[in-house]
Structures are given as structure tokens and as C-alpha cells.
């Protein structure tokens, strides 16, 4: 089925947050600091204030106070330790390009011009932005220190660092640079105080309800007085999971000028103000027996964070559960630097960790002289070795087999540099990915109208995976109503609550609530037709009824059927409304380990003289439970593969540490892949249900689409060239063979 909103999207009818026009709307532009650490000595706003059209220039000296500026304003769970940056509260500078003032004017151009006229002088303190030079400052996250059972604590299964005493082993260090989400849509907000205690925001966010709660807390107003609209979100990849300082800056400005204020970040500000995938150092030690059984893995990681918040991610989780190894040690640390706080970026933690673990698997396989696919099959585990629980479902072997056939894995030579296409060296590589098959609690309201159409509502968002489409399909299948008669409305805090769209959990979470409302609707319809004394429906229950094509019939005598519309008509009902909430079954969750799995295969060609890399073929296979929509699920896998290609080959943020300031902050300097970089990418799914996870049998796709891609490409490059590149991105300068 096609996306329900594809026509709106391709014709421009879909409205994104910055595209709303409100009467009397003003425009805000943020002024960023030009030092990384210190304080504001003086701020001269006179010229800016006197510039044409300027309504206000707000900063720490004159900004209206945010009454409840929450100590922890994050809509995300778990909340990081520390506290988020609060705008305009003092003169302290914590990172370069920190928002320090907002200029509000009647037009965007005038705001941009006036923002240039703000002159700031600083007391400069010595900053620390260089990861390598500050590694000794890394520490165990506070959350882990406080709670010995916290997952971020050091972990040992069997003997600690057991690989060190083994004969057949590898030990390697891996580095990924800072990467930026850079969705097409810039982070934007329109803040509108409809009354002194009533706020409406058109906001780019993945978290409608989280944002609503955060702003209600900030402004000490009732939650129901905050309306959050995010009908369309033009990509996010995680940087819409947070409420960010720019959002509060716009709300402050709207309060001050008493007009709606639109604020859209510039592309350069997208690199400094809305999070990123943190720079990370990792080390993997691994040992195995001659015949390929892993005996020990030690995986250590240090991830970058800011000085004011402890951002953490589950970089090492997969190492604990992916392979059979009897001895596993993991150690995770964070390193605070004078930079802004990171935020989860697609496949957070796991994508970083997989680059190290899956590269190490390739290195170990090479040492052993075993095919890397064979090596993974030898160490495949049929239960979760960390939790000692059965998997709810795991079809990784099937996915590997599908992928290996499609890429032509049998053409791969064990020895690198053996296959050529003209001058180009050809190589094949693979990488496995996994991510928790998460599910949360969501509520959906469904209204069956007298014309037989169904409208459902929930405050989830759609950042691109096709949430509305999947929900329509789930309802169509469960209720027996053609999809064209179903509408799913999302992206508004007026709808029943759903969690943020993150952690690949939306279909499992909201889809379960859709499933639940459909069951209830069927029961209500059954109850109505059963009371119909004149027909064969008498005494009918859901179990002996068939719901199909918008009609209900008795399964045993299908000729007598009633359309849903006629059922309502008979009852003299204008509509039938039900609301259901659905949450995961905690007792089941304690009996099973639930993960999605993916495997990525890449074929690459490397030019020995120039170091140019061409990825010539990619195959992405996933065990993600039931596939609701093959097109949108395929889109996710392909999009994730392109994102992973960027991670492997092109993307990386660079700071000039003398200034603590990024020198890569536009699309000319920071290279996201373009069409010419992306080869033919095939996505395939095992498509077997996980009914333990949720009644629709789904598991998440968004994250596993990218996790494992970067090592697949790096491993293919090794197979082509014999060069093992352990620091991303793998640019041509690293691959010249002559």
C-alpha cells in the first residue's frame, strides 16, 4: 500500500512547523556565542534595537524569566544526569555557538540583519574540546554510580578480560567522529501565547506529549493549556527527542513581544544547538578457539558529553547478548567537554558499538581463517546469554542466509585483494545489528462514523517511517474495513497520549493500541447486531462473526451481512467512539528477551591509486517481526543503509580546538551521502510475527536499519584492500595503496 500522505508530501500540501502563517507573526533569530567557555563581559544591543523593524533583543540581562525553568526539562526517558541548558539565565558560556540572545523583528530579513549588529565581549576561560587530550577525565556515569544494578555499570560474565590470556586473539581500537542528524527540515518552532496562560506551539518534535509537559512545567501552567502541533515532521533521526533551548527562546520572545514568534534554526546552528551522535573511542579484545568458538570479549567505550549534562547511550549492550562467548567484559565511560550535549541519533549507541564489535568479529575471523559469516553462525546464540532468557523471537540466521544469497557471498575470497574489476579492487563485507524490540504505552481514540468511515487519533508523530500508513493498515486488517475508509490523525497534543517517536517503538506501541480499539469496536458492533431480533445475527459474538470490507456477517451464513454504516443506522447512532490504551505485559517481558535483528552485506570497489570507494551493492535483511507495509519498511531499511554509508565513508564533524568551534557546519564541509554514493540497495525481511511482543507481531525497524552498516562497509574495504580502517569516516586519503 502507498503512503497515505504521499500525495500531500510530493505536492507540498503537507505543512511543516515553520510553514504556518499566523496573523501578526514576528521572526526570531538566535545569536550564538563565539567562544567555547567563559562568560559574557558585555553585550551591546543598541544598534540592533535601533535597526528597522526590530521588536526586541533579549538576553540574560533583560529576558523575561521562565518561572518554572525545570531542573530536568527533558521529555526523554531515562533523563540524563545534570540539567539541560537554560537560555538567557546568566552570562555563562558552556560551548561555542551557545544561544546567548534572540533578536525579534517584524520580518525574517530584518531579524537576520539586526542579529549581526549585536556586539558581545567575553571573559574567556580555557576550554577543553579535544577528546583525545582529555581522555583521562572520563568517568562512570552518575546514574551507574548511584545504582549498582544500572545497565551502564561495568559488566563481567565469566572471567574479566579473559581474552588477554588466550593464544588466538585480537585487540583493536576504534574511533567514530561526531556525526550530525541533519534532517532536511530545519528545527523550527512557532510560539503563540493565545492568552497569558495559554500556549500553542507549532513545533518540530518527535515528542508531542513530552514537549507539552516540558513547557507546562517551564511556564507553570496547566498541561492542558499547552497545545503542541507537529502534524508533519521532515525527518529528525533523534534530534527531535529533546526540547531544546531555541524552543524556549522563541516562547520567551513571544511572551515579550506579545505576538506569535517563528524561529527556524539556520543549517549551521543545526550542528551546535540540537545534539549529535557523540565522538566515541572504543577498544575490543576478543579471543577464540581454533575452530571458531569465541572464548572471551572485552569491549570498552568512552563517549563524549557536555559539561552540564551526562548524555549516555547503550554502546556496549549488544556485546553482552549477541554471541555465545562465556567470558564478556564491558566498561562504559563518558567524557565531558566544552561542547553542547549530544542526543540519540538513529541506532544510538548500538550503531557506534556495532562498528567496533562487528569490525572486531571480522578481524577475529580473519585471524582464524574462517569465513566471517561462518564465524557468526558458529557463535550464534539461541538464548540471551546476558539475561539467560529465551528470545521472544530471533530469526537472524534466516536473515543472514537471505542476505548472503542476494549479495553473492560465495564470490567472496577469504584472502583480501584477490578480486578485481579492471583496476578496482572488489571486496565483500557484513555486519550484524540489533536493537531492543521496545514497546511502550499508548492510547488511541477511534470514531466510526455513520458513513462507515473510521477516524483514529493519537498524539504520536511521523518523522518519516509512515506511521499513519501503518496504523491505517493495522486497523484495516483488524476491523475488516478498506484502508481508504480509514484516517489516522497524529501530531497533536489534543489527541490521546502516545510516547515520543523514538527507539523503534511506534508500531509496537501505538499499533497495539490500534489493535485494541479495533477489538473493542468489533465487540461493540457484535453487541449491536446480536440484539437485532429479526435477523440471523441474534446472539452473535465476535467469535462467530466475520468482519470484512466494512461489513459484518455471521461466519456460518455469510449471505446475511450488514455494513458498519447500517449497524449504526439501525441503532440510530451518529457515530461510535471508543478509546483504548495498550501497554506491554510486564510479566511476559520478564520471561523473554526481545530484540530486532538485522544483517547488512556490502560489495565495494576501491581504487588502489586514488583511494576512491564505490559501494556497488548493498543488501539489508531484517528480523523485525511482521512487516505491516513492505514499501515503508523497505524505505526504512534503505534509508538506514544510506545513513550507515555516510557514517562509514563521508560524515564527520571537525572542531578547531584552538577556538573550540566547528569548522564543518554546512553541507559543503559535512558530507552526507548523495544519490551518486548510494548503490542499488535491496531490503528483505524474514517477516515472521513476534506475538509475544505485541498482538500485531511487529518489532522495530528504524534503528536496526543503520546498526551494522558501517562495519559491513569497513569490512568489505578490508576484504578488497587488506587495509583495516578503524577510524571513521573512511575517506580516500586512508586507502591509497601506492
Amino acid at each position: 500500500m502507498d503512503r497515505v500522505d504521499s500525495r500531500q508530501k510530493v505536492t507540498g500540501a503537507a505543512k511543516y512547523s515553520a510553514e504556518y502563517e499566523l496573523p501578526n507573526m514576528a521572526h526570531g533569530i538566535l545569536v550564538g556565542s563565539t567562544i567555547a567557555k567563559g562568560s559574557i563581559k558585555s553585550i551591546d544591543t543598541k544598534r540592533a534595537e535601533n535597526a528597522p523593524g526590530v521588536l526586541a533583543v533579549l538576553h540574560y540581562q533583560n529576558s523575561p524569566k521562565v518561572p518554572g525553568y525545570a531542573q530536568e526539562a527533558h521529555p526523554t526517558e531515562p533523563k540524563p544526569a545534570g540539567k539541560p541548558l537554560q537560555v538567557f539565565i546568566d552570562n555563562q558560556i558552556h560551548f561555542n555557538d551557545q544561544p546567548i540572545a534572540i533578536v525579534v523583528a517584524d520580518t525574517l530579513e530584518r531579524a537576520v540583519y539586526a542579529a549581526r549588529l549585536v556586539k558581545v565581549q567575553y571573559n574567556v576561560d580555557e576550554h577543553a574540546t579535544d577528546f583525545d587530550k582529555n581522555v583521562p577525565k572520563a568517568f562512570l556515569p552518575t546514574a551507574a554510580k548511584r545504582n549498582p544494578k544500572h545497565g551502564l555499570n561495568d559488566y563481567t560474565r565469566g572471567k574479566e578480560d579473559a581474552y588477554k590470556n588466550e593464544a588466538l586473539k585480537i585487540e583493536s581500537e576504534y574511533v567514530i567522529p561526531t556525526e550530525f542528524h541533519n534532517p532536511m527540515e530545519l528545527q523550527s518552532i512557532i510560539a503563540h501565547w493565545e492568552a497569558a496562560d495559554k500556549l500553542t506551539v507549532y513545533d518540530k518534535t518527535q515528542a508531542v506529549i513530552g514537549t507539552q509537559n516540558a513547557f507546562a512545567k517551564d511556564w507553570k501552567i496547566p498541561v492542558e493549556n499547552v497545545k503542541v502541533i507537529a502534524t508533519f515532521v521532515g525527518g529528525a533521526f533523534g534530534n527531535g527527542l529533546h526540547t531544546w533551548p531555541h524552543e524556549t527562546a522563541a516562547i520567551i520572545a513571544a511572551k515579550k513581544v506579545n505576538r506569535p514568534v517563528k524561529l527556524m534554526l539556520t543549517r549551521e546552528q543545526m550542528f551546535t544547538m540540537v545534539g549529535y551522535r557523540p565522538h566515541a573511542w572504543q577498544k575490543v579484545g576478543m579471543s577464540a578457539t581454533k575452530d571458531g568458538k569465541i572464548t572471551a570479549i572485552t569491549h570498552e567505550a568512552i563517549g563524549q558529553t557536555s559539561t552540564y549534562e551526562e548524555f549516555t547511550e547503550s554502546t556496549l549492550q549488544q556485546t553482552r547478548m549477541m554471541y555465545t562467548s562465556p567470558n564478556v567484559t564491558t566498561r562504559y565511560r563518558i567524557l565531558p567537554l566544552d561542547v553542547s550535549t549530544p542526543i540519540w541519533m538513529r541506532g544510538p549507541g548500538e550503531a557506534t558499538g556495532a562498528f567496533a564489535l562487528e569490525s572486531a568479529m571480522d578481524e577475529m575471523a580473519y585471524v582464524l581463517g574462517i569465513d566471517p559469516l561462518e564465524f557468526r553462525l558458529i557463535n550464534h546464540t539461541d538464548k540471551d546469554p546476558e539475561k539467560n532468557l529465551p528470545w521472544s523471537t530471533k530469526y537472524l540466521k534466516e536473515a543472514m542466509q537471505m542476505g548472503a544469497e542476494q549479495i553473492g557471498w560465495s564470490k567472496r575470497q577469504l584472502k583480501p585483494g584477490q578480486v578485481k574489476n579492471g583496476e578496482w579492487l572488489v571486496g565483500y563485507g557484513m555486519g550484524v545489528g540489533t536493537f531492543g524490540a521496545n514497546r511502550g504505552r499508548a492510547k488511541v481514540k477511534a470514531t466510526l462514523h455513520k458513513d462507515g468511515t473510521l477516524v483514529m487519533q493519537s498524539a504520536t508523530t511521523d518523522i518519516g517511517p509512515g506511521t499513519g500508513t501503518a496504523m491505517v493498515q493495522i486497523a484495516a486488517q483488524n476491523l475488516g474495513l478498506p484502508p481508504e475508509k480509514i484516517v489516522f490523525e497524529l501530531g497533536s497534543s489534543l489527541y490521546p497520549p502516545s510516547p515520543s517517536q523514538g527507539g523503534s517503538a511506534t508500531v509496537a506501541t501505538v499499533g497495539s493500541a490500534v489493535h485494541a480499539v479495533c477489538q473493542t469496536l468489533k465487540q461493540r458492533i457484535a453487541g449491536m447486531v446480536a440484539g437485532n431480533a429479526d435477523t440471523s445475527f441474534k446472539g452473535a459474538t465476535v467469535e462467530n462473526l466475520t468482519f470484512k470490507d466494512g461489513y459484518v456477517s455471521v461466519t456460518a451464513s455469510p449471505s446475511a451481512r450488514l455494513s458498519f454504516a447500517d449497524v449504526l443506522k439501525q441503532q440510530n447512532l451518529p457515530e461510535l467512539e471508543v478509546t483504548e490504551e495498550s501497554s506491554p505485559d510486564a510479566s511476559l517481558r520478564s520471561k523473554y528477551s526481545m530484540y530486532s535483528f538485522s544483517v547488512h552485506f556490502a560489495e565495494v570497489q576501491v581504487h588502489p591509486l586514488t583511494g576512491q570507494v564505490r559501494v556497488t551493492n548493498m543488501v539489508a535483511c531484517a528480523d523485525a517481526g511482521t512487516i505491516i507495509n513492505a514499501k515503508t519498511a523497505g524505505n526504512q531499511m534503505i534509508g538506514g543503509a544510506v545513513g550507515g554509508l555516510g557514517m562509514a565513508l563521508t560524515e564527520g564533524g571537525v572542531i578547531d580546538h584552538r577556538f573550540g568551534r566547528y569548522v564543518t557546519k554546512d553541507f559543503a564541509e559535512y558530507h552526507v551521502p548523495v544519490h551518486a554514493d548510494a548503490p542499488n540497495i535491496s531490503a528483505a525481511f524474514v517477516n515472521k510475527p513476534d506475538l509475544i511482543n505485541n498482538p500485531n507481531g511487529t518489532k522495530g525497524i528504524g534503528e536496526i536499519a543503520i546498526i551494522g552498516v558501517a562495519p559491513a562497509i569497513a569490512n568489505a574495504i578490508f576484504n578488497a584492500t587488506g587495509k583495516r580502517i578503524r577510524e571513521l569516516p573512511i575517506t580516500p586519503d586512508k586507502l591509497m595503496m601506492v
Binding site: 563565539t34 530579513e109 537576520v112 540583519y113 549581526r116 581504487h607 591509486l609 586514488t610 583511494g611 576512491q612 564505490r614 565513508l649 563521508t650 571537525v654 578547531d656 584552538r658 577556538f659 568551534r661 569548522v663 564543518t664 557546519k665 554546512d666 553541507f667 559543503a668 564541509e669 558530507h671 551521502p673 548523495v674 544519490h675 551518486a676 554514493d677 569516516p729 575517506t731 580516500p732 586519503d733 591509497m736 601506492v738
Partner: protein
Amino acid sequence: MIPFQYVKPSKPKAAIDTVAKDQTAMFIAGGTNLVDLMKRGVMTPEKLVDINKLPLRKIERENGNVRIGALALNGAVAEDKLVMEKHPLLSQALNAGASAQLRNMATVGGNIMQRVRCPYFYDTAMPCNKREPGTGCGALQGFNRMHAIFGHSEKCIAVNPSDMNVALVALDAVVLVSGPKGDRKIPFAEFHRLPGDTPQIHTNLQQGELIMAVEIPENPYTKHVHYLKVRDRTSYAFALVSVAAALDMDGSTIKSARLAMGGVAHKPWRLNEAEQFLAGKTANEATFRQAAEIAMRGAKAFEHNKFKLQMGPNTIVQALKNAAGAV
């Protein structure tokens, strides 16, 4: 954006006179570079003289020369039959630049005038002698992966980012200029400057001088040509190193060669000595490698661009191989 005046004259003289007498005025054609720079506050012209109404779009043949109007679009030139037949190297170089969308806006004159892409030049909070003389070169001790290995100075190590320029310098193009003091012809190799002590002066064009056309003299390089651009992604990225190679072959013997590099200097970098070495030699990898070594004499790299000392000669060898093999 800083407020500016905008005029759109229909006669070259009016355009030239306006800019000649106003130091704050600039010509604008496709705007693909200047508008970006204005948005970032890097360039702040107070008057823009839009030259798009001037009759400078023609691509024609004149006395054997191919003459390309300054307003001919990069995309149109790359696909032009005459250019593809007579100067396929230029067509290849143009298609290696920017993106299709940009090539359909950018003009030949504008491409010649394209500013450096150095991140320190683009960020007004950073030092840059080119943007603000006397503030220092941010890249010299900073992030200099994309920067020059030839012809740089302590004051500036940025590179000319154009692909088209590399082909034009290899093809001995001439820039036809009209100005307040009349018309003149500037050989392409003399059009751009090395930074020296005055990196803020981008080209040898004087205030008010307008590029009218580019002329490429007839040459035998219609078959064995190759423009090879090595970059961080396959399209829409500036060159780490690029090489324009053109050979006139007699069997396996090189009668004459043209060779130039991009991404290595503040101007498109012609490799005259390597060309002379190649003349009369047999086309093979050993010859190409020797030519590449000659070409790289005098190269000096910085902290992050040492790889160019290896990528440069390798790319020369590969471009020559591709050119020799091209039919």
C-alpha cells in the same frame, strides 16, 4: 542580510560604469556563490548589479576559437555540442563540479570568480586574512585538510575550488574583459593570483571590469582527455585533488600534453614542466609516474593535507592513463 540596492541594466557599459564608480558594488550573475557569502555576512556589497539581461550567453566558433559568453550556464556549456566536440575536457570538468541544480544556475563568468571554500573564510567569527586582512590565516595552524600544497603563503593557504578553471587553464583559455578603461584579454593562467601578502585580492580583475567571454584556441585535444576528481563523496563535493589531462597521441607516442591540477593551489595549477617531459614519450605508467614526480616538485603540505603529496601524483598518473586509454 544587510540591505542592498539592486539594479539590472541591459547594456554592458551601464553595468560596468555602475560598478566602476562604486567600491561597494558588485556584479551578480547566477548568484550561486555570492548569495551564500552574503547570507553568511562574508561579503557585504551595498549594490548588486545584475548582469543577466546582458547579451553574453552565446557559445560560438570564431576563427577556430570557441568563444563562450560569460553568462552561458555551466550546465549548458557542459552539454554544448561544439564544446563536447572541440573541448571535451572542459565538458568533463564542468560536469564534475557542484550539482545539476547549481550548474543550471551558475555561469561561466561567475565560476571563474568563485571564492575559496575555506571554512575560516566562511565563518566571520574566525580569523581570515582574505576576509579581514590582518586577522591571520585560520587554516595555517588549524584544520587544513582541503588546503594548498603549492603557491601558498603564510597569509593564506586556501585553494581555488573550481573544476572548470582547471580545464580552462590546461586549454590555454583567454578571458575577455571589458572595463572602464576599455577591453583587454587576460590569459587564463594570469587571471587568478597566488595569495602572497595580499590574499584579499582574489583575481587580477580591476574594479568595474566585467568578464564578457572566455575564448579557447583550437587544439588537438579532442580525444585523449580526462578530468579526474578525487573527493570525499561522489558528487557535490570539492576536490581533494583533481587533474585535467589532455594528450595528443600518435599511436602510443605522446605528441604533446596538457596537464593541470585543482584543489592544490590558490589558482588552477598548470603543470608546464610535466607537460614538456611527456612530449615525445611513450604513453605508459612509468612515463606517467615520472611526469607526476616532476609535477609535484616544490609541493609543501600542512598538518592535515599531507595525503595530497601522495594523492596528487597518483591522480596525475591515473588521469593520464585514462586520457591515453580514452577513445
